[in-house]
């Protein structure tokens, strides 16, 4: 049963991914795309988790956490860039 559920979830997640890509492609504004990218990262985590169950291996558990971390860093970087035009400031108080 689990097997079937996993397959179904994968397909659903992949479908969701396509939806996100639609938003990524369509835009219309850059923040929209960033939102989409962030959601894609989250989606990626789900897919990886399901895959690791499907393949019955614990090797991908690191990947899961990593994607989470990176999606966060990436999103934050994009947000900061959008807001300030620069990502790393030298001195904030200036």
């Amino acid at each position: 049963m689990i097997e079937a559920v996993l397959q179904i979830s994968l397909v659903v997640l992949a479908a969701a991914m396509i939806g996100l890509v639609y938003r990524l492609v369509k835009g219309p504004t850059v923040p929209d795309r960033v939102v989409a990218l962030d959601a894609m990262g989250v989606n990626l985590v789900s897919i990886t988790a399901v895959l690791s169950m499907l393949l019955d291996t614990s090797n991908y558990l690191e990947v899961i956490l990593l994607i989470g971390i990176l999606a966060f860093i990436g999103t934050v970087a994009f947000a900061k860039f959008l807001e300030k035009g620069e990502v790393v400031e030298y001195d904030r108080d200036q």
Binding site: E62, I73, V88, D91, R92
Partner: protein
């Protein structure tokens, strides 16, 4: 534009430690599970980047008062040194040695020169990534 980043900064501080711990875990896991010096180093750098994003270069430099270019050198020294060590024993370059030891607290542990090598990789990767990011960041 000045913004109030209180939420972000607070979270960043917490998350920073989580990432660093995870990075170190990845580094040590390397030989047996997915991970290793590269990912560990990059992730450590990523953690520092997060701080850079939340704060600024000056603050971060104050927090880590070290020249990342030196870190590159030290890392290379570790890696190349580990490999060169084999010259002393007159075995082919890069020959690693390892053994299992019983250590207090850790129990049965394998000590592997490959780990030293990987440590060099770890340092280099941090050094490189941070040098690049810091240099670009400062150039503004």
């Amino acid at each position: 534009m000045k913004t109030n980043d209180v939420i972000f900064q607070t979270v960043a501080k917490v998350v920073f430690f989580m990432i660093i711990f995870f990075a170190i875990h990845l580094f040590f896991a390397g030989h047996y599970y997915p991970g290793g010096g590269f990912v560990g180093g990059l992730l450590t750098a990523g953690a520092i980047v997060l701080l850079l994003l939340a704060f600024d270069i000056k603050t971060v430099q104050h927090g880590f008062p070290l020249d990342f270019k030196w870190l590159i050198g030290i890392g290379l020294l570790f890696s190349a040194g580990t490999a060169t060590g084999s010259l002393i024993f007159n075995v082919p370059f890069f020959t690693h040695a390892y053994n299992y030891f019983h250590l207090p607290l850790f129990g049965k542990t394998s000590l592997h020169t490959a780990m030293l090598f990987d440590l060099g990789v770890y340092f280099v990767v941090i050094g490189v990534t941070m040098t690049i990011i810091q240099t670009i960041g400062e150039s503004e």
